[in-house]
């Protein structure tokens, strides 16, 4: 889909090339993440693909066509672009910002409106609330969502995303990443994604291209990169705790069926039975659900002594945090560490209980895969 051949860029007046003899092939529907330290040429590479920068050497093929021969305006209209600095237009409302490409393509007004509102919902911004606001009235994370929405509104087959989740806190970032992956699963776009966060790279990518001082060091699947880093630079970048990083690669729903766990207790179950269940449980607790299988709470050993009553519902206390099954095992680990518990309850969007993941399960995975 995208093929870079011996691509180079020397900025006028610089002796060292910003990008040097880069060869990279990205398959249709893949997310290729460019990682590397600051200044290694990630942004420069990306800007050559949509020809904001003219390469000083090499070739770019898009669907087999020589991109350097194409009309740059046409080329850019069909490549979604999220710029590193977000670059929202301060004098336009969110709706007008997102409608930029449709307006350039002269779509009918009502079709544009419709599509803008769709894509806002997709990135988690309520159109009713946000469409008439100006960028100055948005938080950093909301602006990044607008940036992403603006890039994807015309449904371009290719997207270039330069650190699209750079300016947000880790929790929001994880949520945006998960939303992105969910959307991408449906859309199957070909995406070049820049980050200098290796964890993000491992989580988001089909392939990772590691760059250093303008050169491509290794291009591999995240799993191969973790198990066989090409050289010391890559293994340093990946870091020492590689087995923990594997937790990024596995989603909860992939192991949820395999983990063997006691059934949850219903809230009107006799406390005597529940007590036995708790004794047998490896986390010394039992999850309690109501009759719709909605998560009600949890009963630990200490709750049995502290409270009194006839049925499970009388004893249970609130669960601090839960997780959905499309999150990664690494997300599950973060939640456990944050809550200081050895387990986390998995629920669906309607808060219905789907299972429990424990620290032991994570250890097993790391052991098996490592």
């Amino acid at each position: 889909m995208i093929k870079l051949e011996g691509l180079s860029k020397v900025f006028p007046g610089h002796n060292i090339p910003a990008v040097k003899d880069l060869n990279l092939e990205i398959n249709e529907g893949d997310v290729c993440v460019l990682v590397g330290p600051s200044g290694c040429g990630k942004t420069t590479t990306m800007k050559m693909i949509n020809r904001l920068y003219e390469p000083t050497g090499g070739k770019i093929y898009i669907r087999g066509e020589d991109a350097l021969q194409m009309n740059p305006i046409k080329l850019r209209l069909d490549i979604g672009y999220v710029i590193q600095e977000i670059g929202l237009f301060p004098h336009m409302t969110i709706e007008e910002n997102i409608a930029t490409v449709p307006n350039e393509k002269q779509w009918p007004k009502d079709e544009t409106k419709q599509k803008v509102s769709e894509v806002m919902t997709l990135v988690g911004l309520d159109p009713k609330v946000f469409k008439d606001r100006y960028p100055s009235a948005l938080s950093g994370g909301q602006r990044q969502r607008v940036g992403v929405a603006r890039a994807m509104v015309s449904d371009p087959p290719i997207m270039l995303m330069d650190e699209p989740f750079g300016a947000v806190d880790p929790i929001t970032r994880a949520r945006l990443q998960n939303e992105f992956l969910r959307i991408q699963e449906r859309m199957g776009k070909t995406i070049v994604f820049v980050t200098h966060d290796i964890d993000e790279a491992i989580k988001m990518s089909d392939t990772i291209a590691v760059m250093r001082e303008g050169e491509l060091v290794q291009h591999a699947t995240p799993s191969d990169l973790l198990s066989a880093p090409a050289d010391e630079f890559v293994s340093n970048l990946v870091g020492r705790n590689r087995s923990i990083k594997r937790l990024h690669l596995i989603r909860i729903n992939e192991i949820l069926d395999e983990v063997d766990r006691a059934k949850p207790a219903s809230e009107d179950a006799k406390i005597g039975e529940v007590e036995k269940q708790i004794e047998e449980s490896d986390i010394r607790s039992v999850i309690v659900v109501d009759k719709d299988n909605k998560l009600k709470g949890v009963i630990g050993v200490s709750d049995l002594k502290r409270k009194s009553g006839e049925v499970a519902g009388d004893y249970c206390q609130d669960v601090t945090d839960t997780i959905t099954s499309d999150a990664t095992l690494n997300d599950a680990l973060s939640v456990m560490l944050e809550c200081g518990e050895g387990y986390v309850a998995v629920v669906n969007e309607d808060d219905q209980y789907e299972g429990t993941i424990t620290l032991g399960d994570l250890l097993n995975v790391v052991k098996e895969e490592g």
Binding site: K47, N50, L52, I73, K74, L75, R76, L77, Y81, I83, Q84, E85, I86, G87, L88, F89, P90, H91, M92, T100, V101, E104, Y134, S136, R150, A151, L160
Partner: protein
Amino acid sequence: MAREIWKWLGIPLIMIAIAAVIVIYSVNNPTDSIVARMLTYERVFRVIREHMGLLLVSMTGAIIVGVAGGIMLSRPSLYRIGRVMETFVNIGQTVPSLAVLALFYTILGLGFNVAVFALFLYSILPILRNTFAGIDGVEHNIIEAARGMGMRPLRILTKIELPIAFPIIVAGIRTAIVINVGAATLATFIGGGGLGDLIVTGLSVHRDMIIVNGAVIAAVTAILLDYLIGKVEERVVRWA
């Protein structure tokens, strides 16, 4: 809606009323026969008309040429010249307006047209500089985002650069108007007419009342125009 209009027109009406009261009082209660002869409604209206003529013609020209010139100088091919121009304008503005008029008098002679031309040149400077600075000040990443999404240069100019620079361009126009109204009172020295007529006449016959009339009308005009443009700008620019 009615409230809104009053909020807009309240201050201008008060200003006009103050000026009108002063004019009416002075014309009806002249301190002596000299004032009575020199200060008539007819004359006041004539100098106001002349003054507005000077202002309107020179400002229209200055806005058109200043904005167009500022845009042109902000294009990559002329950008370096634009930077040089910025410095020159700052120097140029330190030249007193009286000197500008004197200069044009020696070159072009007397009359309304010469006065208009001098005012035009003098008013262009802040507009030219602000247009250039406003466009130049648009953040680079905003332009890059626009280019990256496939906007053509002309579209980027009209849809991105000019709207973002708009408040700064308007600030330049406001500065120009205030300077222009003041400088136009000097036009009378080279036979350009205007409110300066009253002031100069008043000075030569030592009658403060005539001077006050000319000065008050000029001041009210400057404040009024500045205020109205500010209000219009507030209306147009809702994003800042």
